[in-house]
């Protein structure tokens, strides 16, 4: 018996479907292979490029990484706590490496906020303020970008391009630009993070909005509600928990962004960290890293907890 005979006779339509499937599968495989090759080339290329940009010193210097870590080790481990809480160090010899007590920010009488906590608050403040402002601008832009809310293609196009533009540049680029105009400090950092936040949240938000159930909207439309009323009463209640949840996630990201911008002149804890590292102040660097680490963990935990509460409630309300 030949192979051809055992093959069942296929109906015309079945055969068409099978061929179409085979065709798409083989082209999909081809794309996968091409994709993997491209990624491999890109990876090797970018490593080499980064090395060259480092004037070829990256691989050469790799063994010296340990040298870098050496200076970090303080002469007295207790200095880390002293640096963190601005207590005087017994090693204080008048140099900047040990002038822990000098940074105290007196609030009332003998009560003071340690310098690093104050700087951390500055950084957190930049992040919180710019997340809130960015959020407030992202929401209307997202409604203007959503197909189910805004019928005008021109408005949608405009709103989406604005978000894309703002998202395209990292905070650092905006920060550099604003620093040139407004001089260095927290204000350009705030503007920079706000702009990037609007772009990032606007995009996420409009996708959430486009996925809402339109039946409540039709209900509000059927009583004669205006577009604003339809957004307020039919769309917003559906999306608000999700929007806030993404806003909190953005806050986490913005705490990091605001630290980094600080390091390049935006003030706050980032700047202090860069100074401590560049001058080789081991105890100070460790104190700053510890504080930063604990703060980021705290922000992450807090926002995760709040998001869980929000989404949990959301699920409860959707259950009929």
């Amino acid at each position: 018996m030949s192979v051809a005979q055992t093959e069942p006779v296929l109906k015309e339509t079945t055969r068409e479907i099978v061929t179409a499937w085979e065709r798409t599968t083989s082209s999909r495989r081809l794309y996968t292979v091409i994709g993997i090759i491209l990624i491999a080339i890109g990876f090797v290329g970018s490593v080499q490029y980064a090395d060259e940009a480092n004037a070829g010193h990256f691989f050469e210097r790799l063994p010296h990484l340990f040298d870098f870590l050496q200076w970090l080790i303080p002469n007295d481990w207790n200095d880390v706590w002293r640096a963190l809480f601005d207590r005087a160090s017994p090693l204080d010899n008048g140099s900047e490496a040990y002038d822990f007590a000098a940074g105290r920010v007196y609030v009332w009488g003998d009560f003071y906020i340690p310098e690093y906590f104050e700087l951390m608050i500055t950084t957190l403040n930049i992040a919180i303020l710019s997340t809130i402002v960015g959020f407030l601008f992202a929401v209307p832009l997202a409604f203007m970008s959503a197909r189910n809310i805004t019928p005008s293609p021109a408005i949608r196009f405009g709103a989406r391009r604005i978000c894309e533009f703002l998202r395209a540049f990292p905070e650092l680029v905006f920060a550099g630009l604003f620093a040139a105009i407004l001089s260095a400090g927290p204000v350009p950092a705030i503007f920079a993070i706000i702009l990037h936040t609007i772009g990032a949240l606007g995009k996420l938000f409009y996708e959430i909005i486009e996925n809402i159930d339109m039946k409540p909207d039709e209900g509000v439309r059927s009583v004669g509600g205006t577009r604003l009323e339809r957004i307020r009463f039919a769309a917003l209640p559906q999306v608000l928990p999700n929007l806030i949840s993404y806003g909190l996630l953005r806050l986490e990201i913005n705490v990091r962004a605001s630290t980094i911008i600080g390091a390049v002149g935006g003030g706050g804890i980032g700047e202090e960290l860069r100074l401590a590292i560049s001058r080789g102040f081991g105890a100070k660097t460790l104190a700053l890293l510890l504080l930063l680490f604990l703060t980021i963990i705290a922000v992450d935990q807090l926002s995760a907890w709040m998001r869980k509460k929000l989404v949990g409630e959301h699920q409860f309300l959707l259950a009929h």
Partner: protein, 275 residues
């Protein structure tokens, strides 16, 4: 008085409603029946203007409904209330707010966006809920109510609009027989008490016979029957549901008449609170 002249609606190549003409005098309770896909929902939505007619004219008391735009159209939405099979409430908002949404077109947009409903409106909303026997749910999120309760909230919202016409698109299709009876009784009560024209799509013949003074039968987008329940003969039923003659009325029945009425909602309890 509703007057439709040659009203059609086309979706792509599909004619959902095909040159429909009829007139409905004020205060009538009309049932629209027909197979799924006959164009009943599309017809309803055109009356309310949630969907625009492709051609033809819809006139209500001299008002050219089919030509309305902007705020005049929103006023028409207010005057021509609609309730839906899937209720279309806002599940996250509490029941009272959902009912007060019926006042949106009676007030300034800025006030309502800020959520500022007046004390009178709250009282009115509670009265409407009492009339439908669900005032105890007022503070719950609407999404947590049962289907029958949600439909009653939707009717309360419609009452708040103080409409001239009440449209209902399959209002009882997702309800159990007992809730179906409560909802149908409420619609009849609104029709009789306030004299509001009620037009409702129904998928059960016996409900249409029991509640409506007039029945309009649709098939393939056209009106193929228009008369009283008494005139709806087996022959007419076959014209509406298909000529195979195999339609047994009890098959489409939700048997609501077999369920002992739990409490006469249409009488006693109901106080005309809104008007």
């Amino acid at each position: 008085m509703f007057e439709l002249k040659q009203v059609s609606r086309v979706f792509g190549r599909k004619t959902a409603v095909d040159s429909v003409s009829f007139a409905i005098p004020a205060g009538q309770m009309v049932g629209v029946i027909g197979r799924s896909g006959a164009g009943k929902s599309t017809l309803m939505r055109m009356l309310n203007r949630l969907t625009d007619p492709t051609s033809g004219s819809i006139v209500f008391d001299g008002l050219e409904v089919s030509a309305l735009k902007g705020s005049a159209l929103r006023s028409w939405h207010r005057d021509c209330a609609m309730i839906f099979q899937q209720f279309n409430l806002v599940p996250r908002l509490d029941v009272l707010t959902n009912v007060m949404l019926g006042r949106l077109n009676h007030r300034s947009s800025m006030m309502s966006v800020l959520g500022l409903f007046s004390r009178e409106e709250r009282i009115m909303a509670i009265a409407a809920l009492e009339r439908l026997g669900i005032e105890q749910t007022a503070l719950q999120p609407a999404g947590t109510l049962s289907g029958g309760q949600q439909q009653r909230v939707a009717i309360a919202r419609a009452l708040m609009q103080q409409p001239k016409v009440l449209l209902a698109d399959e209002p009882i299709a997702s309800l159990d027989p007992m809730n179906a009876k409560i909802v149908m009784d409420a619609l009849r009560d609104i029709n009789e008490r306030e004299g509001i024209t009620v037009i409702t799509n129904l998928h059960t013949l016996d409900t249409a016979r029991a509640y409506c003074q007039r029945i309009i039968g649709m098939a393939g987008g056209r009106v193929v029957f228009d008369g009283t329940p008494a005139e709806l003969t087996t022959e007419a039923v076959n014209r509406i549901y298909g000529a195979d003659g195999a339609i047994d009325e009890t098959m489409t029945s939700t048997a609501i008449n077999l369920v002992p009425s739990p409490k006469p909602v249409a009488a006693g309890v109901l106080v005309s609170a809104v008007h």
